[in-house]
Symmetry: C3
Subunit: 370 residues, 3 copies
């Protein structure tokens, strides 16, 4: 690999002057242990960090790397300070949030290019474009569509007829929003997302699958973010909905008529089938699947690869296929790993009983092989 990645790969959108450890600690609500005058200009991983970088102990697995980091300061929780080895520490109650605040303070958010309204975009005269929008080349905004103030529409996005994009939303390259769908405010849709394609609705009759016109739409509420390639079906009637503040990773599929609650966290490659409702603050691990027409309670946590076939209670933890309460699934899996050994012992026990039966003059049942 001959391509040069010289220097730090991390973007810096803010002034590179940086902050002292003490000043940063005050901003992020942490306590400094060590050199409060250390000047910190950026964030980096444990291994890559240099003396001007802040790093973060993201996972206790990496605790042994703490001794080797060259970072100027390390953000961690009280309980992890015992792993440190002389570094300047920024001890925080919620270290992950403190790290987030540090990244924001030292690097800021991505600055989008501001081409204004590109002459290479095609915008139907009947569309409404808000103030301060950036509409990139080859974006296409169809008749009657509305783009709110301050939106960024990257190249190759298509916003269909009468669709609405709320103010401050960002559609990265190659996003499609179908006709009459509604995207809220401050929504981020990463490349390849598709909002509002027809749901999977066919009535099978005399040997053919007859399409049911999908006359509803899809609504993505405020402050949602979706990773690359997520797809949300439009409803047969009414609206498929993704609730305010929910975050999706990549390649998530949402079926028609599903109602995703507020502040859900949905990891990559999850599929949620049609008409299912999730509560608020539901979390799902990667590749989990949820069948249609179910209700998932508030704050339910669904493990990676789980296959949910029934309604789930709020606050529960679930896993397995079919998904059961996590404690039960773990017990079942543990039992399964012991099963081959137990089967050997079972055969032995059968023989021992047979021997006893013989000794007592009972009729002996033959040991079966299955």
């Amino acid at each position: 690999m001959a391509i040069a990645c010289t220097g730090s790969v991390n973007e810096r959108t803010t002034d590179a002057g940086g902050l002292t450890a003490a000043a940063l600690a005050e901003m992020i609500g942490a306590v400094v242990v060590g050199d409060g005058e250390a000047r910190l200009t950026g964030c980096a991983g444990l291994e890559a960090a240099g003396p001007q970088d802040v790093t973060f102990l993201a996972n206790r697995k990496y605790a042994k790397m703490l001794g080797k980091t060259r970072a100027g300061a390390v953000i961690l929780g009280e309980a992890d300070t015992r792993y440190a080895d002389g570094q300047t520490l920024l001890v925080a109650k919620d270290p992950y949030f403190a790290f987030r605040e540090t990244v924001v303070a030292l690097h800021g958010f991505r600055e989008h290019p501001s081409p204004g309204i590109s002459e290479s975009a095609v915008i139907d005269p009947s569309a409404t474009i808000g103030l301060g929008c950036s509409i990139h080349p080859f974006a296409c905004i169809a008749e009657g569509a509305t783009i709110g103030d301050g939106c960024v529409i990257y190249p190759h996005c298509y916003v269909g007829r009468d669709a609405v994009i709320g103010e401050g939303s960002v559609l990265f390259a190659n996003v499609t929003v179908y006709d009459r769908c509604v995207v809220g405010r401050r929504v981020t849709l990463h490349s390849g997302c598709v909002i509002g394609q027809d749901g999977f609705g066919y009535a099978t009759h005399r040997g053919a699958h007859h399409k049911i016109p999908q006359i509803g739409n899809a609504v993505i509420e405020d402050d949602v973010e979706m990773g690359a390639g997520c797809v949300v079906d439009r409803a047969t009637v009414g609206s498929t909905r993704v609730g305010e503040g929910s975050k999706f990773s990549d390649l998530v599929a949402i079926g028609h008529g599903a109602q995703i609650g507020r502040h859900n966290l949905i990891v990559a490659q999850v599929g949620i089938a049609g008409s299912t409702q999730t509560g608020n603050y539901v979390a799902m691990g990667g590749q989990a699947g949820v069948a249609g027409h179910l209700k998932i309670g508030d704050q339910a946590r669904i493990a990676a690869k789980a296959g949910v076939m029934d309604d789930l209670d709020e606050k529960g933890e679930y896993g397995g296929q079919p998904a059961l309460p996590m404690s039960q699934t773990k017990r079942n899996i543990l039992a399964l790993t012991r099963l081959p050994q137990m089967m050997v012992q079972f055969r032995k026990l059968q023989k021992r009983v047979a021997q006893l039966e013989a000794q007592l003059g009972q009729p002996v049942e033959p040991v079966q092989n299955d």
Copy 2:
């Protein structure tokens, strides 16, 4: 969420005058129970429906909501009429198909915008464009490609060299059809679909994976519909094929050389590996996976998340990982849920046998812990 979705979200492409319940019943082959003169103008869900809407009992789970619906009429099957509570009913033998016919009668199908051949599309002079096509801005049709009569090609679609799109097909925004691939008539490809990318073919030799040129193509037969983000590999040699009338939901992946039969129903996130053949009327649930080089019989039904490792007989129902006949998988899963309890009992039984052995002067085997 401040975005206004006032009024019905459901699209109406037909005359809003509507139909009487009696007239509608005749059109869809149903029997009216109740007010045959009720005027019906649209379709809506059980909760959202008003007095001019027809609704539909899609799932018996929602039967208790029947009593509360304000719908002007409810479509249901004979067996579900007992759940009704005074509403006007449209009783149908095949209520799902009757509902479909109702949506078509009252709302019609999506009307595509008709920009003709956009000046902002790029069409190679050697391409052939049929009569009455709509080619949207930023569509790109490569040399030698053929677009049949009445096709709709949305923005950002790419139809590669010598590819063929049959008459009346619709490619929504951001669809890619690779060179020399063939898409049949009346096919619908939703946004993000990719037809004919190279299959996963590499010969590993002396530490490197050497690409095998994928010289075949992909063929999508008539009346196929694919949801968003479906991808179909081209064949190494010959054709990958998706049979007439088959319907895919979203994010389905088809490997090179696979032969999908006619009228298959393939739900979201299914993966079918290379060279596998499915019969006709095969159905697969979400996130199912089928290994390569297999034969799946006609009308086989494969459950969500199943992992198919062997050929499957026609008409069978299969599930689990690896997939087995569904009755067997259910029995295994039930047994597994009972296993931890049984293991406790097994330990007890071992002890009881040991006690008997002691009583009878037999050598006693120690109880093993595993």
Copy 3:
């Protein structure tokens, strides 16, 4: 299906004169058994092949079809020659690689159209475009981006600010490379791939999920190929990396900060979560998932649908959910299929022991139903 696919569907980019079996054998390092003078002009599958085609026994499953093929020559390994029935054979030590060499010799690689730099592309004046590039219509190259010599950028690709594409790489239609990401040399990205979208990083605080700016990037090293719709998150800090020579099938998702080793083979719909590292020559079957923060050893083989929850040793074979050594998973699955039967026997054994206990005057435990 009325669309004509007359003649061979297989592309021929080389001279159709072909080669004799003897000449081909010499090129591919095989031994001819049969007619060395047979003229061979193309490759085809066992069923479709005609007298001028070379075919290949890709899988022993198809051995019985060998007797029926009309192919002019069949490539196979020494061990499979016993299935042949009079055909001319090309016997090779590594038949798969020999077949690959044959396809290259008789058909060559895809020839990309060479439109030069299309006037319908938008290239920022600050971008650098190498010599001999093909930049198709509607491609968009942002400020500061670098496109190496001889690249092919198909329509609707977006290469973001300061991104780098190494020489000889091909981006098929609708590929997105985010700002500051690096794609190596001779990389192929099929349609719908997204490189460098923001990783799934949120710090939950007081009821909201606060976005952590993803200030790192994604790096795709030399000679990588990705199928359609693959997505690679950018790192929170530092780089997500896909190592040299690795090959992905379709719809693969790579989490932020993951480090994929060199020469990995990753089949369709695999998901690898953030910060996980894979060694070199790792192979993963379709729909496998790997949790975050793990280390997967060199040459580990992970079965389709496996759910990897722990570090894996090098060279091991793993499968199941959670993934265990394959031998153990197979033993567990076999035991599970026998479990329902064993439970019946267990009930019987309990009764037999109770009978013995009664006979010996022991207190008898009742048989429990669970």
